[in-house]
C-alpha cells in the first residue's frame, strides 16, 4: 500500500488513515493538536495559531483557531464512524520564542486546547508544550505514535 506524508501548514488541518503520516514543522507558539482513534486507525492533525475564534459556532470553519480546528477535525473523524469515547488527543507546541516579547499566546493556546478537549469529552493522552523552543511533530497513523523533534 502506498503511504503518504502530509505536511499540515499553519492554520490548516488534515485527516489521514492507515499507513499515512501527518506532520507539522517548525511549531513555535502555535499548537499541533492530534486526534487519534486507535480502533479505526484514523487520525487528524491541526496546526492552529490562535485560541478562540471570534464567533464560535456561527458556521465559520476557520481552522487557524483552536476551537474551530478541533470542531472540524471531530466532524471529519465522526464521518468515518469514529466514536468520541475512543478518540485520544495529544498536543505539542505553545512556546514563547522571544523572551522579551511579553506574549502569552503560546500558554493561552495550550490552555484553550485543553479546555476545548475537555468540553468535547476527549481524553488527553500526552503533551509536549511550553518553554522557548521550536518543535516539529510527526504523527504516525499506523501506530498512533507522535514523535517530537527539536533543534537541541
Amino acid at each position: 500500500m502506498e503511504c503518504m506524508d502530509i505536511e499540515v501548514k499553519m492554520g490548516d488541518i488534515a485527516l489521514a488513515k492507515n499507513a499515512d503520516n501527518l506532520a507539522a514543522l517548525g511549531i513555535g507558539s502555535c499548537v499541533a493538536i492530534m486526534l487519534y482513534d486507535p480502533k479505526l486507525k484514523i487520525g487528524a492533525l491541526a496546526h492552529a495559531m490562535l485560541h478562540h475564534s471570534p464567533t464560535p459556532g456561527h458556521g465559520s470553519a476557520d481552522t487557524k483557531y483552536i476551537d474551530t480546528a478541533i470542531d472540524e477535525m471531530l466532524k471529519k473523524m465522526l464521518t468515518y464512524e469514529a466514536k468520541k469515547q475512543d478518540i485520544e488527543a495529544k498536543i505539542v507546541g505553545g512556546a514563547n520564542m522571544f523572551s522579551i516579547l511579553d506574549s502569552d499566546i503560546g500558554k493561552q493556546n495550550v490552555l484553550s486546547a485543553k479546555e476545548k478537549l475537555k468540553k468535547e469529552g476527549i481524553k488527553l493522552a500526552g503533551e509536549c508544550v511550553g518553554g522557548s523552543i521550536g518543535r516539529s511533530v510527526e504523527f504516525c497513523i499506523a501506530t498512533g505514535i507522535v514523535t517530537v523533534k527539536t533543534k537541541f
Partner: protein
C-alpha cells in the same frame, strides 16, 4: 504606496551601508516591494525547519509594529567570525558574546532603516531592546505571525535581502506594521503636502 517604495529603497540602502561598515565588507542589498500581505505569507520564505537566528525588535511611537531580522545559521556564524574577529569558519555555536553581537547588528540595521522611515514620513518611532532566538525558522516566524494575526489579518510587510561575501550569504529584514496605521500615516503625509502647496 509609491512613497513607501521610496522609503523602503532608501531605508534598505541605509541599513546595508551600516551593516557593511560594521563587518568591513561590501554588502549588496536586494529590496522587494513593500507590500501589504497576509502575515501568514511570511512563513513560506524559508523552510520551516531551517535553523536561523531571529532578532526581534518591537517598535512603538506614532506607529506600532515590529522588526524581525533573520540570518540563516551559516550566515549568523560568518557574521560572528567577522564581528568577534575569529578565524573564518571557526564559529560553530553561539556564545553569549556572539548573541549580543548579533543583537547589536539587529539594532543597527533596524535603526538605520527606521531612521529613514521616520524622517520621510515625519513620524516618531521608538525601537526597543532586541531579543534573539536561535531555532527553527517556522517557530520564530509563527510567533511573529500569531502576534500580528491576533490584531489584524494583514500587515505591511517589507523584506530586504542582504547579500555579502566571502561566499554569498543572505539575511532578511522584515518590518511589520498594521495596515490601518500605515493608512493614517500616509494620509497625514498627504494632508501635510496639500497644506504646503496651498500656502505656497
Amino acid at each position: 504606496m509609491e512613497k513607501l517604495q521610496e522609503i523602503n529603497k532608501h531605508g534598505a540602502l541605509n541599513a546595508s551601508r551600516a551593516l557593511s561598515k560594521l563587518i568591513d565588507r561590501p554588502v549588496d542589498v536586494r529590496v522587494s516591494e513593500a507590500r501589504v500581505k497576509k502575515v501568514e505569507e511570511l512563513a513560506s520564505i524559508i523552510g520551516p525547519e531551517e535553523i536561523v537566528v531571529g532578532i526581534h525588535l518591537p517598535v512603538t511611537g506614532d506607529i506600532e509594529g515590529a522588526a524581525l531580522l533573520i540570518f540563516p545559521e551559516e550566515t549568523a556564524f560568518t557574521l560572528c567570525d567577522l564581528l568577534v574577529k575569529r578565524e573564518p569558519g571557526t564559529t560553530r555555536r553561539l556564545s553569549g558574546l556572539d548573541r549580543s553581537a548579533l543583537k547589536e547588528v539587529g539594532n543597527i540595521i533596524s535603526g538605520s532603516y527606521l531612521a529613514v522611515f521616520s524622517n520621510m514620513l515625519q513620524v516618531k518611532t521608538i525601537e526597543h531592546i532586541p531579543s534573539l532566538s536561535f531555532d527553527m525558522f517556522g517557530a520564530i516566524a509563527s510567533q511573529m505571525i500569531t502576534n500580528f494575526a491576533q490584531k489584524a489579518g494583514k500587515a505591511l510587510v517589507t523584506d530586504i535581502e542582504f547579500i555579502f561575501k566571502p561566499v554569498a550569504l543572505k539575511g532578511y529584514f522584515f518590518l511589520f506594521f498594521l495596515l490601518e496605521q500605515i493608512d493614517v500615516v500616509l494620509g497625514s503625509l498627504e494632508n501635510h503636502r496639500k497644506l504646503i502647496k496651498g500656502s505656497g
